[in-house]
């Protein structure tokens, strides 16, 4: 059913359609609207049977989900930013035990400095936790990916993070087609766990494993991710056949087939990029976009095939590895090993800075002129940075960096709070 709804509401309604049996909630901006809405549906009785549990921390949110999943219930939670880091130990644990929990990450920056706005530092920080990671470019995709996520998680017995840009998507009212219950039921059967804590057949889960078998157990986790790589396109095709939308493929190409310059990106910036690409195409430039929907497992072969004929690749990232550079770019580089095309990293949209068409267009044009350095920070206020560095050069006690930069910017920064 077509609706004009907030992204969080759309996700909450979709979660309900997926019939989760245990939902754990701990408030953190910007995912809060999702669990609030799910909680309301449980209280009203429209989502039943379902246990909605208000826990005392994100660590417990995921731990409760771990217990619920081990007990055979379909479990769901949502988090963001500091919350994801606070539960980090349980994030690895859920994956290590192979519990098919689905979790929404409403992507948000990580402090310090504390910042409630969007970037993807949170989910990127846990990219190697063993979870499958899917990134939505729109609210419609967020809706569709959640349905696929439950199916995928339970098929391979691994947890799945569905990542959607905080605020930009979660708080945006957009037209979304929310499927019918019967259709979702037909696509997503009830949860049949691979492993279950059951007095009728006692098993030991989470046993200690020493050097004699640890490698094998970890290798099998890798195998399962590779299975997901094979399975996801199949599930996406099945989804498309039933719901009429292509939402679950590993990658999504846009005007990239004959493009010299291809911008690789994840998440909501893809839509803005498509607008820019259309403008540049109208001006006669051979440019395109490659959206990566599945970051874990990383679709090396698909990315290779999509980029192999390009002359240059620009990887636009909403997070970066401090002291190293691009995170996604590294994987792209691996996919293009041995090929001559230069791969540029452009870090953009950190901590909620808007990524505008104008900035993107300027950046892509620089790329087309081969003027982009290896790593660029889009719209970086170099004067502010220079002054901060100057303060550090001239004074031993230069003070907290964040405070210094805010003082320098003066009233301008206050517009946001």
């Amino acid at each position: 059913m077509l609706k004009q709804v907030e992204g969080s509401r759309a996700v909450a309604e979709t979660i309900a359609l997926c019939r989760p049996e245990v939902v754990c909630a701990y408030p953190i901006t910007p995912q809060t609207h999702i669990v609030e809405a799910v909680g309301e549906m449980v209280r009203e009785g429209t989502l039943a049977p379902c246990e909605f549990i208000n826990v005392e921390s994100e660590f417990s949110a995921l731990s409760v989900a771990i217990g619920a999943s081990a007990g055979g219930a379909r479990a769901y939670t949502a988090t963001a930013s500091q919350g994801l880091l606070f539960m980090a130990e349980a994030v690895f644990n859920a994956a290590g035990m192979g519990l098919p929990i689905v979790m929404t990450v409403a992507n948000r920056a990580i402090g310090a400095p504390i910042n409630i706005w969007n970037d993807q530092s949170d989910s990127m920080a846990l990219r190697d936790s063993g979870w499958l990671q899917l990134y939505a470019t729109s609210n419609q995709e967020a809706v569709d990916l959640h349905i696929i996520a439950f199916r995928l998680a339970e098929a391979v017995s691994l947890p799945v993070m569905v990542c959607m840009d905080g605020f930009v998507l979660t708080h945006a009212y957009e037209r979304v087609d929310i499927p019918e219950q019967a259709e979702v039921d037909a696509y997503l059967p009830g949860f049949e766990p691979r492993q279950l804590l059951d007095p009728a057949e006692p098993v030991t889960m989470g046993a200690m494993v020493g050097p004699e078998a640890f490698t094998e157990v970890r290798y099998l986790a890798h195998v399962r991710q590779m299975q997901a790589l094979e399975l996801l396109p199949t599930l996406a095709r099945e989804f498309e056949a039933r719901f009429g939308r292509d939402s679950g493929c590993l990658i999504q190409r846009y005007r990239s087939e004959d493009a010299d310059t291809i911008v690789v990106a994840l998440g909501s910036v893809v839509g803005t990029l498509q607008e820019v690409i259309d403008t540049l195409r109208d001006a006669g430039h051979a440019v395109g976009v490659l959206a990566i929907r599945a970051f874990r497992p990383f679709p090396l072969a698909e990315v290779h095939d999509a980029l192999v004929d390009s002359k240059r690749v620009i990887v636009l990232e909403r997070a970066f590895a401090v002291g190293q550079g691009g995170i996604v770019a590294d994987s792209v580089r691996k996919a293009l090993q041995g090929l001559p095309a230069p791969i540029h990293t452009v870090v953009a949209g950190l901590g909620g800075r808007p990524i505008t068409q104008a900035s993107l267009r300027g950046m892509i044009e620089r790329g087309m002129r081969d003027e982009l350095p290896s790593v660029t920070f889009l719209d970086l206020q170099t004067d502010v940075v220079e002054r901060a560095l100057e303060r550090e050069r001239t004074s031993r006690r230069s003070g907290p960096v964040a405070e210094g930069v805010l003082k320098d910017l003066g009233v301008k920064a206050m517009q946001y709070v």
């Binding site: 049996e21 245990v22 754990c24 049977p49 379902c50 246990e51 549990i53 208000n54 826990v55 005392e56 921390s57 660590f59 417990s60 731990s63 409760v64 989900a65 771990i66 217990g67 619920a68 999943s69 081990a70 007990g71 055979g72 219930a73 479990a75 130990e89 349980a90 644990n93 035990m97 804590l197 059951d198 007095p199 057949e201 006692p202 098993v203 030991t204 889960m205 989470g206 046993a207 200690m208 494993v209 020493g210 078998a213």
Partner: protein, 330 residues
């Protein structure tokens, strides 16, 4: 409380021959039907109080629920010695997730059982004092506060023994551990620190809180049975001497547990809905020295120069417990 009212002194050890009891009061361990929930062959040290306590607690829970339990176990000695892959000593469905989250995993299991219509399957979460009083304290308090249908059992050996005997917030004053060495003007663990989780559990006004020691195994069984007859969040705190960490002889585990109780250092009581309802009376009071002296972790108190002040301090703690919990019969 369902322990004996009759004082049996004839055996000289305060123990009661099982055959002297009514059949329904006999120990779960004495029956052929006992489940061996924690089976023999595990890797615990000789004289491990935790293994003893856990077996009695689990078997009692199995007996009370007709075998319908699932268990969430925190990281720690109990987890490590019972499940070196690919072996497991557990005859119950059992999951180990993390050090700090056993209470939350238990809450999730309870939710799963409810939603799956399997409310007859009961949930036990358990761990040592580190996972209870320290790293898992937040999730434990959350589970209590939500009154989740979980029995949490803490096996308190008063320190981080699995990692090589470090201090926890359940380590008693003056005790020597690797992080509270017996050096300086006040050797061993500092005074004025630490917490007693049963009292904090009571502050949550949960239906049932009890303490026990492995000196009174029948008491453990009775308390687990009582806990399993209730719904909601329940807490049992069992003192389990650790020969490795305490520096005591393997054969002294039960005796030390008894001395802890009979000195008043470890009060054994029961509380319902936040109020103490019963306590196990001291039958033959001993000075704290009787508990302290056989343990190497307190050896510095009894060197060339006895540390009278520290001993008096610990005795005062015991006396306070005796007053507070009415441990001596009037």
């Amino acid at each position: 409380m369902s322990h004996q009212d009759i004082k049996f002194y004839q055996t000289g050890t305060f123990t009661v021959g099982n055959r002297l009891l009514d059949p329904e009061q006999r120990s779960v361990q004495s029956t052929l039907e006992r489940t061996n929930a924690l089976n023999s062959g595990h890797r615990a040290c000789p004289g491990c109080g935790e293994a003893l306590g856990a077996r009695y607690a689990m078997d009692a829970a199995m007996a009370a629920t007709d075998g319908q339990i699932v268990v969430a176990n925190a990281t720690g000695c109990l987890e490590v010695f019972s499940t070196p892959y690919p072996e497991t000593a557990w005859q119950v469905p059992w999951v180990h997730s993390l050090f700090g989250n056993a209470a939350a995993v238990g809450a999730g299991l309870a939710a799963a059982m409810r939603v799956k219509g399997k409310s007859d399957v009961r949930v036990i979460a358990q761990g040592g004092d580190g996972s209870t009083a320290d790293i898992g304290f937040g999730p434990l308090s959350g589970m209590f506060e939500r009154n989740d249908d979980v029995l949490f059992i803490c096996y308190d050996n008063q320190g981080y023994m699995n990692t090589g005997v470090q201090r926890s917030s359940a380590t008693p004053p003056a005790a020597r551990t690797a992080t509270t060495p017996a050096v300086g003007p006040h050797p061993g663990h500092q005074r004025g620190m630490g917490k007693f989780v049963p009292e904090i559990a009571m502050a949550h006004h949960i239906p049932y809180v009890a303490t026990a020691t492995v000196a009174d195994l029948r008491d453990i069984e009775a308390k687990v049975t009582a806990a399993m007859s209730l719904r909601g969040a329940r807490y049992i705190h069992i003192l389990v001497p650790c020969p490795l960490g305490w520096g005591s002889a393997s054969h002294d585990t039960v005796r030390l547990a008894r001395m802890a109780r009979e000195s008043g250092l470890f009060p054994v009581f029961e509380a319902r809905d936040g109020e103490v309802t019963d306590s196990l009376k001291i039958r033959h009071q001993v000075p704290v020295e009787a508990f302290l002296k056989p343990q190497k972790r307190f050896a510095h108190l009894f060197g060339k120069q006895r540390d009278e002040e520290a001993i008096a301090y610990l005795q005062a703690r015991a006396d306070r417990n005796i007053r507070k919990y009415h441990l001596l019969e009037a």
